[in-house]
């Protein structure tokens, strides 16, 4: 693995552009001062793998819906109608998601770890911060596999143009003037400014937008509103399964709102199918031994080193690595142990000279569009660092 050391961005600069979560609670910098150097061929392989995986997710999504496999995926029952409704109609457009991948460098094959399809983090880091690092180091001629910002802008336009050319956006929009309300919970600056960056991109795309904290958004039979003003689109950086489990009444209201076509919610409810790690078992059923997949099962695998994780676990919580002889290598605690476990064949991440492991994150917004890395221990957790990249 080739790493390039760079002069780190200052905290003052990061804060000046809205990036306040630059330092972890242990006082270490969240942004690595190294970037991963990859070849153009490696970038192309990530691009093609991600596009292929998304197509497989769509095929398998149809299979889940046709066969009512929601319970298998650990999806709360009160989301099923929302999922089906959103799946049926193209207006429920998937804005973005992030595929977490092992391999892709050091000659290691690319393997799917999971797909953060509903509320992926690292948008700001990938779209902005890793470009800022190059700029700060006068690397004007350096390249990245990274059109995340522009791709998000284009995909916002597709909320209106759908499958027709995005060049027609202005033509349609001037008659529609659909507004997007962006929401996060109020107590997390990372969530809030990530949402506000997306809002900024939607403004650039040409939308009328506004922001409101989750707890102050109003829901009724007439739709979704802020201070009496109804919005046609609502972007929420709040996981669907949390809506279903923690705020069941909201799930009911949103079902009515979608059924009555009063609003369109982003990301759409069907992304919770993709988000469920159980979905990778469905993929393995439909595409057995596919080179991009790791064997995944709802029961422990026989005589194989494997990872146990929860269908809706996050950031490495409630994860265990189990050796082929069934001994436990490592286990993390967390708040997700009420979810259903899955068992996925273990694969080692690329490793640097310090013994840190690297996982690639590739964003998908209509197509694969932006690469970034996370580095950390053998289970990547909330303390893992963001690592930018350069295409040589």
């Amino acid at each position: 693995m080739q790493l390039k050391k760079l002069k780190p961005l200052t905290n003052e600069y990061l804060e000046s552009i809205g990036f306040h979560w630059h330092t972890d609670d242990d006082n270490t910098s969240y942004i690595s001062d190294e970037v991963v150097e990859i070849t153009e061929d490696e970038a192309t392989a990530y691009y093609e793998a991600t596009n292929e995986l998304y197509e497989m997710y769509c095929e398998a999504g149809e299979h889940v819906i046709e066969n009512n496999l929601f319970h298998e995926l650990n999806i709360p029952f009160n989301l099923v109608e929302l999922i089906k409704q959103s799946w049926e109609d193209d207006v429920h457009w998937h804005l973005y998601g992030r595929f977490d991948l092992a391999g892709g460098i050091d000659g290691k094959p690319i393997k799917l770890i999971e797909f953060n399809a509903d509320t992926p983090t690292s948008v700001f880091e990938t779209a902005i911060i890793q470009w800022a690092m190059l700029k700060f180091n006068d690397l004007e001629e350096s390249s990245q596999f990274n059109s995340l910002y522009e791709s998000l802008k284009d995909n916002f336009k597709r909320f209106v143009t759908l499958n027709t050319p995005i060049e027609d956006f202005e033509k349609y929009y001037k008659d529609l003037n659909f507004k997007i309300l962006f929401s996060s919970i109020s107590e997390s600056i990372e969530d809030e400014n990530t949402v506000k960056l997306l809002q900024h991109i939607a403004n650039e795309a040409g939308y009328i937008t506004d922001f409101e904290y989750m707890e102050d958004v109003e829901f009724s039979n007439d739709g979704i509103s802020k201070k009496d003003k109804i919005f046609e689109f609502w972007f929420k950086l709040i996981p669907w399964e949390d809506i279903a489990i923690d705020e069941g009444e909201l799930a009911v209201l949103l079902t009515d709102i979608i059924n009555n076509k009063k609003a369109i919610i982003v990301n759409p409810a069907y992304t919770v199918m993709f988000q469920s790690k159980g979905f990778m078992k469905i993929l393995w059923d439909l595409y057995p031994n596919h080179p991009l997949l790791l064997e995944t099962s709802f029961e422990p695998l026989n005589s194989k080193k494997q990872v146990e994780k929860m269908c809706f676990g996050r950031e490495g919580a409630n994860t265990a690595i189990i050796n082929a002889d069934n001994s436990l290598e490592i286990k993390t605690d967390g708040e997700y142990d009420n979810f259903k476990p899955i068992y996925q064949e273990y694969v080692e991440f690329p490793k640097d000279n310090n013994g840190d492991f690297y996982q690639a994150g590739v964003f998908y917004a209509y197509e694969a569009c932006g690469l970034g890395f996370r580095k950390g221990g053998i289970i990547l957790d909330n303390y893992s660092k963001f690592v930018g990249h350069i295409v040589k």
């Binding site: 470009w131 522009e150 600056i189 040409g206 009328i208 109003e218 996050r314």
Partner: protein, 205 residues
């Protein structure tokens, strides 16, 4: 590089909005962490105040044109030179351009108030382009009345945008939205807090 998903930092024409964020951040970034004030975010106020973020590009013909403009919490003008370098105009520079233009409007030499056919081919000067942007309506509000009642200005205004679509997009994004009435329910996730450790996303993934 031919692959469209691989981009070069120096390719500002492609990166566009990214370079603006690198320079100045974005509309939400004045919001400091954990202020707990709830409703009154800077952005909400910004929408009411209708400030703007404007990117103006120098033309090889010598004039200037508006490449993009959208609502923002504070008015910022980014000037992109021919070589792609970008800088933010200071308030003093903006004031100076506006005042110079005000004098020209008063004595009838501003291109903004001339009929189209008498404008020379060199294109609009920076002060002229600045004032014809929607931001200009706010920056130069004290001379706004002179301009908005002038038919030549109305005709010329859209010409200072790089394309008609940039202009209509800009006008649309500043339109006020209409109000509606309903019986509503709110307060969902009111008890969520960002108590987790590490980088602070509550719903990271």
């Amino acid at each position: 590089m031919s692959k469209k998903y691989i981009k070069k930092l120096s390719d500002f024409a492609v990166l566009g909005g990214v370079s603006a964020v690198l320079l100045t951040g974005f509309t939400g970034c004045e919001q400091k962490p954990q202020d707990g004030s709830g409703q009154d975010s800077s952005f909400t106020q910004a929408n009411e105040k209708q400030n703007a973020f404007v990117i103006i590009e120098k033309q090889s013909t010598g004039g200037y044109t508006i490449v993009d403009e959208f609502p923002s919490s504070s008015t910022r003008i980014v000037l992109r030179e021919l070589d792609g370098t970008e800088r933010i105009l200071t308030q003093a520079q903006i004031d100076q351009f506006v005042q110079q233009e005000a004098i020209k409007i008063d004595n009838g030499t501003s291109n903004l108030t001339k009929p189209q056919e008498s404008i020379s081919n060199g294109g609009m000067g920076l002060g002229e382009v600045l004032l014809s942007s929607i931001a200009g309506a706010m920056i130069g509000s004290y001379i706004g009345n002179k301009l908005f009642n002038n038919n030549n200005f109305k005709n010329n205004r859209s010409r200072n945008y790089k394309s008609p679509s940039t202009y209509s997009k800009s006008v649309n994004s500043f339109k006020k939205a209409k109000a509606a009435k309903a019986s509503r329910k709110s307060g969902f996730f009111g008890n969520k807090s960002g108590s987790r450790t590490g980088s602070s996303s509550r719903f990271g993934g």
